[in-house]
Amino acid sequence: MCLAIPARVVTVNGDGTAVVSIGGLRKSISLALVDVVAVGDYVVVHTGFALSRLDAVEAEKTLAILRDAGVGVERRS
């Protein structure tokens, strides 16, 4: 139920399927659960279906928050 990973859309086919790439590995998946998706977009893939588009802007924002979280913290010795 939880295992889903981000994958980059490489080809969008006309029949509701797409080919995605994860670290160079290509897999065919279904786009039945998402709205329009373009080549180059990232999607979250679970059991062969894209669950949502991954928001790249939000991803960068989260990474920035993560990287800032430790700033100014005194480490306990």
């Binding site: 139920m1 939880c2 295992l3 889903a4 990973i5 981000p6 980059r8 994860i22 670290g23 279904s30 039945a32 659960l33 998402v34 709205d35 990232y42 979250v44 679970h46 059991t47 062969g48 279906f49 669950l51 949502s52 991954l54 928001d55 790249a56 939000e58 991803a59 924002k61 989260t62 990474l63 928050i65 993560l66 990287r67 979280a69 430790g70 700033v71 913290v73 005194e74 480490r75 306990r76 010795s77």
Partner: protein, 380 residues
């Protein structure tokens, strides 16, 4: 792999750990229940618990669909798999779960049942089209993350007139499980001590964050919806610590790159078209819960395995010594179970929680042994 590796950065993890250690007050406890089997897995796989300060305690909740599936339902799946001409399609997670008398799908396969492991629902439908003279039954399990994929193939089967395909639906609902914990007598009488929830990330991709608002409001428990990478989890833990310190009870979203408050309306509409609520459903460890599970609607009755095949249901009690129920409700730790590690181990599991690597007991067995033999170091 983009959007994966960056969220596993060890240096950032240590900084986050330092931040959590600084902000978690030594004078109180932060008992955080993480819901999802995937979160349990991530916690132990990356050794996150080693990085958390003592006041923070992670409790594993009932978010593993394998662990909460009543054994009686597994018995029905094994029963139908044994019938001549039937191909039962199942996810790998269920294959070794022990049923009555130590039966399992794996053993049934060894005995000659045609049981095939699939990666997704679409593969099960494909087996049906490729084997027109056989009947294919898809053993569908999962919370809201997985249900839409089942809905899609049921609809496709109906549209294409594929009649040798049916679904044995065991899809269950997350808010009901949380209700079961927070609304239970154990909780009301103060035996379940949970200060906050790490919300399931991929379930929320589908249902959004709104369904958790009533838990925050009515029960005064903060919820942070979390991604699955280790940095996501640590950030979510930090956000929960802050809410608890500040006396806030809100629903926050850490997994903003994949979750929006309104969820995936297209997926939810598809689920609504194909499925309806069961008035009640038995959950392993949580008892019978109302409005907590889904079955196919009447218009899809021809693809509903429960209506197509006679599958008598008999509730199967857990082994009397198995503490899975209390563990799933957060009342006990795996190590509190009398048979943990002795009669019950991954080699010979007595309950589901010991089978899948995401089950609490299995995780404790592997990971926990190391921390029990070695005193926890203070992390600087």
């Amino acid at each position: 792999m983009k959007y994966i590796q960056e969220f596993r950065d060890g240096a950032v993890a240590r900084q986050l750990a330092a931040r959590i250690t600084q902000e978690a007050r030594a004078s109180r406890r932060y008992r955080l229940m993480e819901f999802c089997g995937g979160h349990t897995h991530s916690l132990w796989r990356y050794g996150i618990m080693d990085l958390l300060p003592d006041p923070v305690e992670m409790i594993h909740g009932p978010g593993c669909p394998v662990c909460v599936l009543p054994i009686g339902r597994l018995e029905q799946a094994i029963d139908v798999a044994r019938r001549p001409g039937i191909i039962l399609c199942t996810f790998g997670d269920m294959v070794r779960v022990p049923a009555k008398d130590r039966k399992s799908l794996l053993k049934a396969k060894a005995d000659g049942a045609d049981i095939r492991m699939v990666y997704g629902s679409a593969d099960a439908l494909r087996f049906a089209t490729e084997n027109p003279s056989r009947e294919v039954v898809f053993f569908a399990i999962g919370f809201e993350t997985t249900t839409p994929a089942t809905a899609v193939v049921v609809k496709q089967a109906a549209e294409r007139g594929i009649t040798n395909f049916s679904v044995f639906s065991n899809h269950v609902l997350t808010p009901s499980a949380i209700d079961a914990i927070l609304g239970s007598p154990d909780a009301k009488e103060g035996r379940i001590l949970v200060d906050g929830f790490v919300g399931p990330g991929h379930v929320s991709t589908i249902i959004g964050t709104k369904p958790y608002e009533r838990f925050a409001r009515e029960h005064g428990k903060p919820v942070v919806v979390s991604g699955f990478e280790p940095l996501d989890l640590m950030q979510s833990i930090l956000m929960l610590v802050r809410q608890i310190n500040e006396g806030r009870c809100e629903v926050e979203n850490e997994y903003t790159r994949a979750v929006v408050p309104g969820g995936n309306t297209r997926a939810m509409a598809l689920v609504d078209e194909v499925f309806e609520l069961r008035p009640s459903f038995e959950w392993r460890g949580l008892g019978t819960l109302p409005d907590s599970a889904l079955r196919l609607r009447d218009r899809y009755a021809a693809w509903d395995a429960e209506r197509k095949w006679t599958l008598p249901y008999e509730p199967v009690a857990d082994h009397p010594a198995c503490a899975c129920g209390e563990i799933l409700r957060g009342l006990k730790k795996p190590t509190d179970c009398k048979i943990f590690g002795t009669a019950c181990s991954p080699e010979s599991p007595v309950g589901s929680c010991m089978v899948s690597p995401e089950g609490s007991c299995a995780a404790y067995f592997a990971y926990g042994r190391l921390t029990r033999e070695r005193p926890r170091r203070a992390e600087g």
